[in-house]
């Protein structure tokens, strides 16, 4: 997400994923989310499953023609994670250790 090439931590990756999913309040499928995150679908799936099991992401089965597909959206707890993550980044920025 950032311009620099420093390696992203797990928290950075989870935050990036949540930021992308957040732009779809009604939910979105994994493929489209992978385009926003910039990570292959199979790798992203594992991370999104982790977020889902931690109740930061809601996973809803698609109905009708889209058998087997799921839609993902951010839960209130996921928004709380993002808010906390952003605030922590802000503190680090103030210390001169941010971004």
């Amino acid at each position: 997400m950032a311009g620099g090439r420093t390696k992203r931590s797990k928290a950075d990756l989870y935050a990036t994923i949540l930021e992308v999913i957040r732009t779809y309040p009604e939910g979105e499928r994994i493929t489209r989310i992978s385009y926003g995150v910039g990570v292959p679908v199979d790798r992203l799936k594992a991370m999104v499953e982790k977020l889902s099991s931690a109740a930061l992401v809601r996973k809803i089965a698609a109905d009708g023609d889209e058998k087997g597909a799921y839609y993902y959206s951010v839960t209130p707890r996921g928004l709380e994670f993002l808010d906390t993550y952003r605030k922590m980044k802000g503190f680090l920025e103030a210390f001169g250790e941010g971004s």
Partner: protein, 417 residues
């Protein structure tokens, strides 16, 4: 793809003019304009995958299932643009609504409704929309004209206006003057001179290249304003540095450190940490539970200096109370940790320099230089160099230490400020 009028096969190049109905384009296809300028589709344009449009394209709506859509001219949709992965338009994109899963590159963007991009937005010129929501990063070299902006990562704009709310998870920078409603930046915020808005709040750093006019300023970390700051209310939980003057019509609250090279002028001042300024002139009350340093002086209707606090520079007020009360800071701001807090600098004497006022009350163990007032009340253990008064000098049975004998006079010397 039922109801299609025109289909462009996989890997082929089609020369089109006006398409009545829908257009379906398979993966790897290329479209060129019969007139060399534009293709018009009265219905929907549906792209299955990677495709190239070597002209301008106008249609009712556009859907791109996957891959990259490149348009060398303008892209105009009466209704929506829906791109799963990436769209690159050399010219202008215009639509009722724009949704892109990955990346959007455009010369300019004009959208009546919302722009929603999961990843990255890059616009060479102007961006105009009702709302913009980007998961990753947005960079607009020209001006923006928006109601709301929400960006998870970094946002860079070339000035313009964001009339409603801008929420930036990471870094925000405007290269040209910006008018804004509310900006909330979690990380770092950089603004040039001449910006104007209603509210700005930053958790990390705020840098302003010149003057800033903003009704409400909340600084969580560090804020530096290279010019003057004009506001209604300023709250600093970290550090504020103003190279010019600071004026406010409501209150200035400093829980951390504040340094104003010019004049600090406003209504009420509350210092829970440290304020250094050339001169402070207030029409209301000054409450100090820390340190205030002025070169010329601090003037207010009433001045309350809490126990253990220190003031450098003359104090000028209607009523000045020094060291007589433990200061309770929780009343200042409801948002400050939501907790009751009591600040008392234990073990330190309350120390001020010259005081000019109508009423001066010195609490226990207060030290000051000269006091000029109508009435003076001295608490136990007070230490002062000189007391000059026109009305009463009150002192209890306790000991006080005055270097020169107190002097009752007909009139006091002119007050500074």
């Amino acid at each position: 793809m039922s109801g299609l009028q025109v289909e462009v096969r996989k890997g082929s190049t089609a020369k089109l003019g006006r398409v009545e109905g829908d257009l379906g384009v398979a993966k790897g296809a290329k479209i060129v304009a019969a007139d060399g300028k534009a293709v018009t589709v009265t219905g929907a344009a549906h792209f299955e995958g990677d495709a190239e449009v070597d002209c301008s394209l106008q249609c009712d709506s556009i859907v791109v299932d996957r891959g990259v859509l490149k348009v060398s001219g303008d892209l105009a949709a009466t209704r929506g643009v829906d791109v799963a992965h990436t769209v690159r338009v050399s010219g202008a994109i215009s639509a009722e609504a724009i949704e892109v899963g990955g990346k959007m590159d455009a010369g300019s963007v004009s959208c009546k409704g919302s722009v929603r991009v999961g990843g990255i937005v890059e616009v060479a010129k102007a961006l105009e929309a009702d709302s913009v929501d980007v998961g990753g990063k947005i960079a607009v070299r020209g001006a923006v004209k928006l109601r709301d902006l929400s960006v998870g990562g970094m946002a860079e704009v070339g000035g313009g206006s964001i009339a409603g709310r801008a929420t930036i998870g990471g870094i925000f920078e405007s290269k040209a003057p910006l008018e804004f409603g509310e900006i909330r930046v979690y990380g770092k915020c950089g603004l040039p001179a001449g910006c104007k808005g209603k509210r700005i709040s930053t958790g990390g750093k705020l840098f302003v290249g010149g003057d800033l006019s903003c009704e409400q300023v909340e600084v969580g970390g560090l804020a530096e304003v290279k010019g003057g700051l004009s506001s209604s209310k300023v709250t600093v939980n970290g550090k504020l540095n103003v190279l010019g003057s600071l004026s406010f019509t409501d209150a200035l609250e400093i829980f951390g450190m504040g340094e104003v090279r010019g004049e600090t002028k406003g209504v009420d001042l509350r210092v829970g940490g440290r304020l250094k300024t050339n001169k402070a002139v207030l029409s209301g009350a000054a409450e100090v539970a820390g340190e205030v340093e002025t070169a010329v002086g601090l003037k207010a209707q009433s001045i309350l200096v809490g126990r253990g606090s220190r003031c450098t520079g003359p104090l000028v007020g209607g009523r000045v109370e020094l060291g007589s009360s433990e200061y309770v800071a929780a009343n200042w701001s409801k948002s400050w940790a939501g907790q009751m807090a009591s600040i008392r600098l234990v073990g330190r004497m309350t120390s001020v320099e010259d005081v000019y006022a109508d009423e001066v009350v010195l609490g226990a163990n207060t030290r000051c230089k000269r006091v000029f007032a109508r009435n003076i009340q001295l608490g136990a253990g007070s230490i002062l160099e000189q007391a000059t008064y026109t009305g009463e000098l009150r002192q209890g049975p306790h000991r006080v230490f005055i270097t020169k004998p107190p002097e009752k006079v007909e009139s006091l010397p002119p007050f500074p400020l």
